[in-house]
């Protein structure tokens, strides 16, 4: 099962621009619809697990599907296929970029691109925040309440400020989020029991 998985993921890796999330529909088409390696329900479970686990979503999904379909060989094939196109393309770019950068035309173009990139990083977070908050008609009434959504938004803001102004390593912010949430949930639970 090394080669089939390798080819499938090589195809997916070569034709998706824009990172892991852009890969998901393509993975679904190849792995679920065309090859029939796993079914729809397992695919959705896979996405949930690949997102919950740390690391790159594309790589996580390759490992999961590789393992389910072809064991160790499957994992090696899928991961190599997912990583290789982007590795080779960036390697080629890195080799010439140092020289090209000095060209006046390239320099001018990048002067325009840099502020655009900052906007492309920041602006999609608006949509992310919107989809993370339960809107009208979604979830329970408690899940739509102000308190339920205000705290996590304050957390987003605190995380941004701690890293931006406090120069705190993001690793600590992530660990703190996990620990504080676990404590908060356990306090909530013991309060319910009383």
């Amino acid at each position: 099962m090394f080669l089939p998985l390798f080819w499938t993921y090589l195809k997916i890796g070569t034709f998706t621009v824009g990172g892991g999330y852009a890969m998901l529909p393509l993975i679904q088409r190849e792995v679920v619809d065309r090859q029939g390696w796993i079914d729809e329900k397992e695919f959705l479970n896979m996405i949930a697990l690949a997102q919950a686990a740390p690391g790159l979503i594309a790589v996580n999904s390759a490992i999961f599907i590789g393992w389910r379909v072809g064991g160790w060989r499957g994992v090696c094939g899928a991961v190599l296929g997912a990583v290789l196109p982007s590795f080779l393309i960036i390697l080629a770019i890195a080799m010439v970029f140092q020289d090209w950068k000095e060209l006046p035309a390239v320099e001018a173009a990048f002067k325009g691109i840099r502020p655009a990139v900052v906007a492309l990083i920041a602006a999609p977070q608006f949509k992310m925040a919107k989809s993370a908050i339960k809107a009208k008609g979604e979830g329970t009434k408690g899940e739509r309440s102000l308190a339920y959504n205000l705290w996590p938004l304050a957390l987003s803001l605190a995380a941004a400020l701690l890293i931006w102004l406090g120069h705190v390593n993001p690793v600590w912010v992530i660990l703190a989020t996990i620990i504080i949430t676990l404590i908060a949930v356990s306090i909530q639970h013991s309060a319910f029991r009383k």
Partner: protein
Amino acid sequence: MLYLQLFISFFKIGLFGFGGGLAILSLIQMEVEAHGWMTQQEFVDIVAVSQVTPGPFGINCATYVGYTTAGIWGSILATTAIVLPSLIIMLAICKAYFWLSNKFQGNPYYEQTLRMLRFTVIGLIVSAALMLIKPTNFIDTTSWIIFGVVALLTVLPNFISQKSKVESQKVPTGTPIKRMTEILSHPILLIILAGVAGYCIYR
């Protein structure tokens, strides 16, 4: 020593990079800056290159940083290091898959932690953007105009789609205006347009 530093840094990025994609940005930024492997400008440039080339962003960054600091072996090492934590954790998840899918669904500890991490990751990405607002990237007023236009075009479909929700009961395929704003919000197109604008203005 450099190889070891590269390995540790990118292993750490792979281990704590929750949320995928841009979420990993601030982690990479912190590591790369701490070791002086890249300037702010170079970092933005590689993000731009990543947005228009195929593949996951983390792999692109690992390959680029690895190559510029320690050559081809450096790029192989950094890429392996960022994949390794995924490999260990995902294989453990796969082995425990049936046990996991029963235990974790509906578990409040698990679900709330994931929910909160989603919000933290938003903060992480915003901080990455804030750290990039520097005179090296924003050289004049024109830079801010480009920033404003790109940001506006990116968020615009969110507002249009909300309005067309009511209309979509009558017209199921979505309005042409909505489709146009969606095309205009595509990051590859926006980067190319910004590049063309930069070439015309700063040449």
